[in-house]
């Protein structure tokens, strides 16, 4: 009986999803998908600020609305208490153009094996969540937190404590993008601390207090405060983020804005960030990073993507800017499977030895 009720519930949620938008939906757990659907990150992810394991809604969405072909629907909930999720990625890549004329390098590697567990200890109030990397080598914890409230507090509020990705900007899957690598907010750098959030109506507001060591053990009294606020509507969104990380002999301030909008099958999004590093014993460095992305939904399960990244690694030095383009296609042939073919074009200063273009083919199996 319980299974029947759950199935009816899942079908009802899936039906609601079908009514959300007039056009077909496609994508993966990336910001462009959120912009395309007009949904908040917390709609599909256990982590309210996005990324990592999907919640029940996200799982149903991924199975019913992403792929060209759908087979038997699988529930991620093992029972009322426990749900599971997983991600597995294999990447083949190689150099397509090398400024140093070096021998072309190619590689095939497993880049992610992760398992997510969500335990609903007290329904709608206390959730324990773990996102554990199982490989490609030894295990390590990417996120592990207790989530209080889960939307049941006033203003759709919650409190999160543990290890998690800090709230800042667009949570792109591509950690190599300048706005992710240079700001330091990416999948390699979760931090340990506390996060508060409210999500009434179109507003999403998050603020975190953390060690500021990006997952390393705390060794000083300095702390990091990071926050993000966004207004999210069906066709467009805009927001701003800021962070301050204090250490005894250095400080980093990051501020930025982001946004996106959707027109029919086109989705556009972007982010701008200023990064200010100051030091006690030497001159500081100011950086500027920008990101633009355009997506075109060809048919359900087939997305064409183009991204543009800009980096000025030191505002006090002229003619040192760097540009990064990515373009290619992403395909979801069946539920749980995503494949992408992308070309990354890096434009550096003429004398740079790091001026290399790469192609990549990625297989992503998720649940």
């Amino acid at each position: 009986m319980r299974r029947l009720v759950s199935s009816i519930g899942a079908a009802a949620v899936a039906s609601c999803l079908l009514l959300l938008g007039p056009q077909e939906l496609s994508g993966r757990d990336e910001p462009y998908l959120s912009v395309r659907t007009g949904l908040k990150c917390s709609q599909c992810h256990v982590n309210k600020t996005g990324g990592g394991g999907r919640n029940d809604f996200g799982s149903i969405y991924a199975q019913t609305r992403l792929s060209m072909v759908q087979f038997t629907f699988l529930k991620r909930s093992l029972n009322d208490f426990l749900s599971i999720g997983a991600d597995f990625r294999v990447l083949a890549s190689g150099t397509a153009r090398d400024a140093t004329d070096a021998v072309p390098r190619t590689s095939v590697e497993i880049i992610e094996q992760s398992l997510q567990l969500e335990a609903r200890v007290i329904r709608n109030f206390l959730t324990l969540y773990i996102d554990q990397l199982l490989g490609p080598s030894g295990a390590s914890t990417r996120e592990a937190f207790a989530l209080f409230g889960n939307g049941s507090l006033p203003l759709e509020g919650y409190v999160k404590a543990g290890k998690f990705f800090l709230p800042y900007g667009l949570r792109l899957v591509d950690d190599g993008e300048f706005t992710r690598a240079r700001t330091g907010f990416n999948y390699d750098t979760p931090d340990i601390g506390v996060e508060l959030g409210i999500e009434p109506g179109p507003l999403s507001f998050f603020v975190s207090f953390s060690n500021g060591t990006q997952g390393a053990s705390e060794d000083n009294s300095g702390k990091q405060i990071a926050g993000s606020a966004a207004l999210i509507f069906r066709r467009f969104r805009f927001g701003a983020s800021a962070s301050r990380n204090d250490a005894p002999d250095a400080r980093r301030d990051v501020v930025g804005g982001f946004g996106g909008f959707n027109v029919g099958r086109f989705t556009f999004l972007g982010e701008l960030d200023y990064i200010f590093d100051s030091f006690e014993e030497r001159e500081g460095v100011n950086q500027f990073a920008g990101f633009l992305e355009g997506d075109f939904l060809v048919i359900r399960g087939l997305n064409i993507k183009t991204t543009y990244g800009f980096l000025d690694p030191n505002r006090d030095i002229g003619e040192n800017a760097r540009v990064r383009w990515r373009f290619g296609v992403e395909v979801f042939p069946t539920q749980f499977v995503q494949a992408s073919v992308l070309y990354t074009l890096l434009e550096d200063i003429p004398q740079a030895t790091t001026d290399i273009d790469r192609w990549s083919i990625e297989l992503h199996v998720y649940f």
């Binding site: 007039p22 490609p136 390590s140 400080r251 003619e319 760097r322 200063i349």
Partner: protein
Amino acid sequence: MSRAGRFEIWAAATMIPLVVFVAACAGDGTGLDEFGNPLAADRLELAPTLSSIQQNVFTPICTQCHTGAAAPLGLALDSGASRADLVNVASVEHPELARVSPGDPEASYLVWKVEGRGGITGSRMPLSLPPLSEDQIAAIRVWIEQGAEDN
């Protein structure tokens, strides 16, 4: 053609030229070295010493991220700080390995990360940049092999 279809074409026709117009190009590199820093007269040749690796690898490449208060995983590779954060310091991603184990590059997680070995957690370094050259990696390996001295 439907109204929605015309709107899509209008959006594409507007946004694509706009992006191309807004998108800036890379710098021309005038007066800079290959890493985008002002040309320095006293630059050292690449050699298996800390000062040379600092000047040719850590400072121009690694400190693009591993610097200051927000150095990823608590690893600052700034001049004067790099050795203290590397030598005999346990890796955050693989605490059973030291970032640099003097005399043993195979047991040094720094080498694993820059070589992009299958055993690493997270991304190959340097993040968002092409891998280090064979010469740069060789210099790091030999420096470690020779005891990772402050030379």
